[in-house]
């Protein structure tokens, strides 16, 4: 009863346009007024949910992406990708996807990708003669790679909420992220070829020169991953190392100035607080899920069907895909993670595997109409109608969903790098 009140009030407030965090708070308040749970718990849970030092990795990885965008590193990445794959059938569309893969290794979020890199990509593709809706769709679809290839803010969030190893989650995203890129490139090879002839093949010398010149930014993901795998630093420290690294690379190679620091800090505050405030205001919800024993009840249901694990994972995919069409990924992640992980544990699903599946599921929500966040950004940048972007994005869902189901039912694709590299535990 109280739980129904929580959800009705939450959805009601959310659809009235209230901030998601406030809607969650008001929903929790309704719950506590109707149940015998002491409402004072919110005073503790709100602040304690922000107590983990690992959460600091979120602003740090956001800041690293900001620095790369401001310092012009994004441009260099795009140019380098162009030398590599600009001549393949599908041309700049491949470049678009490959740059996102490179960028994903630096930035922890899809936001930084779409808003920073996306602007460069759409401009270049439009000038070369690609239809605007197609350019916008490639850009939106490829930005989904950002939270999958490490580092990833969503994985930090999932890891802190569940006590799952963040290095293991990061490594888990490696293969799915590359698969995503490759699957999209296959689609682009088939469909994108008809628009514009590809560019000329770059000489090996030109590629080599550019690779050397851009070696430092391109190496960022390896610096971060190696540091985590060999245990040179904790995830939080990895964030700060990424910031320092990005700062040095941008000041030496790009045109970063001291006066850029202030605005970058403001942008970082904005992006990370949007996430952290939702986490704080929804913290009570995690507490309720535990005390009401919701995961136990739900997993008993899946056990009853006789297909426990398989049915559960399928349900996770379907439910998250549906929720993702109208809710923000952070709020879905924060609200549903405690339930999903509790159920996963009861049904024997590896929490690292589940984390990567959940994050990929949520990222798809960025590009599913009617409320795909990335779709709105690219529509704005490309200056077209939303309906055209929406139509152009649909075919991209085929390679993405294919990869999603592949990693859902072949856990080894997610788990083998971490099992191989992080022994024991």
């Amino acid at each position: 009863m109280a739980l129904i009140a929580l959800f009705s009030v939450f959805f009601f407030m959310m659809f009235l346009g209230a901030p998601v965090a406030i809607a969650m708070g008001v929903g929790s308040m309704a719950y506590m007024l109707l149940s015998d749970i002491p409402a004072t718990v919110m005073v503790f849970s709100m602040v304690d949910s922000l107590g983990g030092i690992t959460l600091l990795a979120i602003p740090f990885f956001v800041l690293a992406g900001e620095i790369m965008n401001t310092g012009g590193v994004t441009h260099r990445i795009f140019n380098f990708a162009n030398l590599l794959v600009g001549h393949v059938r599908g041309g700049l569309a491949h470049v678009n996807i490959l740059s996102s893969m490179f960028f994903a290794g630096i930035s922890g979020s899809a936001v930084a990708d779409t808003a920073g890199l996306g602007r460069i990509e759409i401009k270049a593709m439009t000038e070369a003669g690609y239809p605007r809706p197609f350019s916008a769709a490639v850009t939106a679809a490829s930005s989904c790679i950002g939270p999958i290839i490490p580092p990833s803010i969503l994985m930090v969030l999932y890891g802190t909420m569940t006590d799952v190893s963040i290095p293991a989650l990061f490594l888990g995203g490696l293969v799915p992220g590359v698969l995503l890129g490759v699957a999209m490139m296959i689609y682009v090879y088939v469909a994108g070829g008809r628009y514009v002839a590809p560019g000329e093949k770059a000489s090996l010398r030109a590629i080599g020169r550019s690779a050397v010149r851009n070696a430092f930014p391109l190496m960022t993901p390896f610096v971060i991953l190696a540091g985590l795998v060999f245990g040179l630093f904790t995830p939080t420290e990895a964030g700060v190392v990424a910031v320092a690294y990005a700062f040095i690379v941008s000041s030496v190679m790009g045109d970063m100035r001291l006066k850029d620091i202030g605005p970058m800090l403001v942008a970082t505050l904005e992006t990370s607080t949007q996430i952290l405030f939702i986490l704080a205001m929804s913290s009570l919800f995690g507490w309720l899920v535990t005390t009401e024993r919701i995961p136990e009840t739900l997993s008993a249901f899946f056990d009853m069907t006789g297909y426990g694990r398989v049915a559960f994972l399928l349900a996770v995919n379907i439910i998250l895909l549906i929720l993702g069409t109208f809710m923000s990924l952070t709020s879905i992640l924060v609200i549903f993670t405690p339930t999903l992980v509790g159920m996963g544990n009861a049904l024997g699903v590896d929490p690292v595997h589940l984390g990567v599946v959940v994050v990929l599921n949520l990222t798809v929500g960025l590009i599913t109409p009617p409320l795909g966040w990335a779709l709105y950004i690219v529509t704005e940048i490309a200056e077209i109608r939303f309906i055209d972007t929406a139509r152009a994005i649909l075919p991209f869902l085929i390679p993405i969903l294919f990869v999603l189901f592949l990693i859902t039912y072949v856990p080894a694709l997610v788990l083998f790098p971490s099992e191989y590299l992080l022994q024991a535990q």
Binding site: M14, F15, T40, P59, L269, L276, I278
Partner: protein, 162 residues
């Protein structure tokens, strides 16, 4: 109400400076930790207490700023297609609910205030310093909502939009 709005504007400018400073300090603090460990094989005892305090205050200070600027994540699909009257009603409900939530929170805080006797082990930071942060966010948020309601009643656009 306009005076109140001006005061809130000034308060948020201060909040922004403080939040920026905290973020910069967090970056430098953790960076120093890494450097210390490799250069001097020493770690900074109690850094965790300070970063925890920093992250909590950063979040709630910035949350107040985002609230005023309407930058928090929200779902606007339904709101966007409402009639003008519907929009005004939705905004009014949101404001009232936000105020109710804040008051509810204040009451709960007052109720457990007596139990905040812990101190952090190294710097002996009182628990209340951590637990006060939501207050710093929700006091200006409530005042802002009163301003918004007043503007709404006078058929003016809500202030604070950038």
């Amino acid at each position: 109400m306009q005076t109140l709005d001006r005061i809130l504007g000034r308060l948020h400018a201060i909040y922004l400076r403080v939040a920026q400073a905290i973020l910069a300090a967090l970056v430098l603090g953790v960076l120093t930790q890494v450097v210390f460990r490799y250069a001097f094989s020493r770690s900074i005892l109690g850094l965790e207490e300070l970063t925890k305090l920093g992250l909590i205050w950063l979040t709630f200070l910035a949350a107040a700023i985002l609230h005023r600027n309407r930058k928090h994540i929200s779902v606007s699909a339904l709101y966007d297609v409402m009639s003008d009257g519907g929009k005004r009603l939705a905004r009014a409900i949101t404001s009232v609910a936000t105020i109710a939530l804040a008051v509810f929170l204040f009451v709960q805080m007052a109720e457990v205030w007596a139990f905040m006797m812990l101190k952090s082990p190294i710097y002996r930071i009182p628990d209340t310093w951590f637990r006060l942060a939501p207050l710093a966010a929700f006091v200006p948020i409530v005042l802002q909502e009163f301003v918004n309601l007043a503007m709404l009643a006078r058929h003016q656009a809500a202030p604070g939009r950038r």
